[in-house]
């Protein structure tokens, strides 16, 4: 008799129906905004991530698609000399998660905005934030929190102080845990320890709006981070008037998760009581240049597996649950 494994969950009628509905409404939302669907293969042949599901197809080691951005990038490299500007995607990805109880199969819908002129970036970032703001309403989530962060708020001071790769990783790890005492341990007697700790304290203010920006103005790196601060201020000014009811907009300066990947503004969507963010994304301008294309990119992904879990455990958070 086949056994059920929690890492590869089967969806019963209500969950399957919900997933189909959410994929439909989210893809429709993206299509309305000019995002066109690309569908990369579920199987990737190129060198593969260690947390992916790998197997041999004859003599070839292959992996199930573990990330849409990576799979889409490989497709774009092969077929598009110029990037299509707005891409949408929907489907499954398979990757072993950080926690042993989390599923390996994930259902996602997402979008990428790729452009060649960096001056477009601020408007693209706001466009993506506005799109993410629409997500709770289209899937029937009663309320949510949109947290804005900026990866450069930590990376630029670390670069300026010439932190080694190892020390930078330890500092990022400490801030990811919001543990100032760990940051202090990591920096030890580094010549810039005092400045970096004062900055870390600034980043660790409780997530808020204008008050967080004001705190950033008192950081020892306030002058260095003037552009980033202005960018966040502009985003707040543009997004606040557009906020749908029941959605809260916050600045989370200590959002350093994915720090080695993101290069600019980051976005995370939370629901009250959700254990993990329901959508996440941001600007990742290093990615395509490393593949040999001078393209700038930002995007986000809605994690439908987490939405399904939440609908099961906290149905009161959804309309018509």
């Amino acid at each position: 008799m086949p056994t059920h494994t929690p890492h590869f969950p089967d969806l019963l009628f209500p969950a399957a129906k919900r997933l189909r509905h959410w994929e439909g409404v989210l893809m429709h939302l993206l299509e309305e905004q000019g995002y066109e669907e690309l569908r990369p293969s579920l199987v990737l042949r190129e060198p593969v991530e260690t947390n992916s599901i790998r197997f041999f197809d004859g003599d070839h080691l292959v992996a199930l698609r573990w990330d849409f951005t990576v799979a889409l990038a490989r497709m774009l490299m092969r077929r598009f000399p110029e990037p299509p500007r707005r891409i949408a995607y929907a489907g499954d990805v398979f990757r072993h998660a950080g926690q042993p109880w989390e599923p390996v199969e994930h259902f996602e819908v997402g979008c990428e905005h790729i452009h060649t002129d960096p001056s477009e970036s601020p408007d693209v970032d706001v466009e993506l934030a506005r799109l993410m703001m629409s997500v709770p309403a289209v899937i029937g989530l009663r309320g949510g929190i949109l947290a804005l962060g900026h990866a450069a708020l930590l990376s630029r001071p670390m670069e300026q102080e010439g932190l080694s790769k190892e020390l930078a990783a330890r500092l990022v790890w400490a801030l990811e845990r919001r543990a100032l005492h760990r940051a202090e341990e990591a920096l030890g007697d580094h010549p810039a320890a005092k400045r970096l700790l004062a900055h870390a304290e600034t980043l660790l203010v409780e997530p808020d709006g204008e008050a967080s920006l004001e705190a950033l103005g008192h950081s020892p790196y306030a002058a260095l981070l003037e552009d980033e601060r202005a960018h966040l201020q502009r985003a707040l000014t543009k997004l606040q008037p557009l906020l749908p009811p029941n959605l809260i907009l916050r600045l989370d300066l200590a959002d350093v998760k994915g720090h080695d990947y993101y290069t600019g503004p980051t976005l995370r969507l939370w629901a009250p009581g959700a254990q993990q963010e329901l959508a996440a994304g941001g600007r990742y301008d290093r990615f395509f240049p490393e593949l040999g294309r001078p393209w700038y990119a930002a995007g986000f992904c809605v994690r439908l597996t987490r939405m399904l879990d939440l609908a099961e455990t906290r149905p009161e958070l959804f309309e018509n649950a």
Partner: protein
């Protein structure tokens, strides 16, 4: 729905629970005298779970408990994704490499096949790597001090508070590898998705428990 705070049973609890009395998070004494592990606090809607330290991070990372107090040694041995909001400076210990009297770090370095018994394999591996040392780790859960005496290992890595147990077994600290203490931890989801509820509770716990 109640907010749950996970508190450890044992050594840290003995030090910590009296500090919570006369605060809004004081544990209900009647429930404490019973065998239940789910204890109401003086604040309606906030309850405490009394858990074994090694299980506690799972309850917090899984979002069952919004906040918790746990030793940094337990955190460093596990790979759980949670927030670590404060060093409470309670239950402070040293994580030390210990060996029979007369043995030095240099003499351990010279051993062609060094064996170290410990409960803290992850932290020991990290330290060995930082020292450019290789050793065979002998995982033990308790009474680690017996291992060098009975020839199971050349040295041990263990938590040392006063050093009394080491002395009783003829062992000395050869190297202090780090310091451990109780930490206030939070579920990432609870803290970031319900900041107005969880952050004030976290501040309250820190104020009641933080030493020094």
């Amino acid at each position: 729905m109640s907010i749950l705070i996970a508190l450890p049973k044992g050594r840290i609890a003995d030090e910590m629970l009296p500090m919570l009395s006369n605060t809004p998070l004081a544990l209900n004494e009647k429930a404490m005298r019973s065998r239940v592990l789910h204890i109401p606090t003086a604040t309606p809607g906030v309850e405490a779970l009394l858990l074994k330290g090694s299980d506690l991070p799972r309850y917090v990372a899984g979002g069952v408990a919004a906040l918790g107090v746990v030793g940094s040694d337990t955190l460093d041995e596990s790979e759980v994704n949670l927030l670590e909001l404060a060093d409470l400076k309670l239950g402070v210990c040293r994580l030390s490499l210990c060996a029979p009297k007369g043995v030095t770090l240099d003499s351990l370095r010279m051993k062609p096949h060094l064996r170290i018994a410990t409960k803290y394999t992850r932290m020991t591996r990290t330290w060995l790597k930082s020292q450019d040392l290789t050793a065979e780790l002998v995982p033990l859960q308790s009474s680690v001090e017996l291992a060098p005496i009975l020839g199971l290992a050349d040295a041990i890595v263990d938590l040392v508070q006063t050093g009394g147990t080491l002395k009783a077994h003829g062992l000395v600290e050869v190297e202090i590898m780090g310091r451990t203490s109780a930490r206030l931890v939070a579920s990432r989801g609870a803290y970031l998705s319900e900041p107005t509820q969880i952050a004030p509770l976290a501040r309250l716990l820190t104020k009641a428990l933080q030493q020094g």
